[in-house]
Symmetry: C2
Subunit: 160 residues, 2 copies
């Protein structure tokens, strides 16, 4: 089995996102970094502005949701799991307007752990996990945050 | 003072959204209907698909957020108020995948009322109000819902 390369795997995922989600392509989503634990995606401001010239709330939420989705997708790929991953319930807080290019950083929510997620997936062919994301703002404070549940369903099991 | 024409006012707002928010233009957002109470916006599926071929969560949330924002913006315009309207905290539930063109319908949340909102705006030059939106799904059930707080700030007051 090949050694898992977090950055290459994340870059492949971003390429996949760009190719298969037209809105992500329009947003200009790029990989920031991935260390096997947290995933950072970035966007230029220009295609993501609102009527006030700052970042459109829909773009902030889309980027945070994709970063959260990416964290789950990458953990699954690392373990050779072939799943569809869906976002479930999300809570978004828009705290400050964003006036420049922006990033979203996603990682597991407090209290969530991969061991429970993967043991549930093994037992039931589906499992859910909570992820938290933030768009860093000025002075170290987040400009927006998202907490979301993601559900993974094994593809093979679903087709049986 | 001209009589307020809900449909013409909503169409002007959708034109404004299309012209000033690039992502809304890409999404192909169109006016469904507006009766002075609820606002319906629609999107074709094609520019809004995800990797699974159903509607991208970011598109569902963007459309619901814009419909909610529009309800507040139109109520302000009807009363001649010149405000910036920002989305605050939002809770989104993705309940069913959406496999076709979709709409989002927005109206005030239960317990929210315009009278309180406008009296607060008069007193403080800013006010917040809760809006609920849904993307109708099959069999009369929603495919996605959003509850969001919107904050309106008077432009003149802000510039003083």
């Amino acid at each position: 089995m090949q050694k898992f390369d977090p950055h290459a795997s994340a870059q492949a995922l971003v390429n996949f996102i760009q190719a298969s989600i037209p809105l992500a392509h329009t947003m200009g989503i790029e990989l920031g970094r991935y260390d096997g634990d947290s995933l950072v995606l970035g966007c230029p401001l220009a295609p993501n502005v609102n009527d006030k010239g700052c970042a459109f709330g829909g773009s902030l939420t889309s980027l945070m949701t994709l970063a959260g989705w990416g964290v789950v997708e990458l953990a699954l790929r690392q373990r050779g799991e072939d799943c569809d991953v869906y976002v479930g319930e999300s809570t978004v807080r828009y705290l400050e307007p964003v006036w420049s290019d922006f990033q979203a950083e996603a990682r597991l929510a407090e209290g969530a752990d991969w061991a429970t997620f993967f043991s549930t997936l093994s037992a039931r062919n589906r499992a859910r996990i909570a992820v938290r994301c933030q768009v860093p703002g000025e002075n170290g404070k987040p400009a927006a945050t998202l907490e979301a549940q993601f559900v993974a369903k094994r593809r093979v099991a679903a087709a049986e």
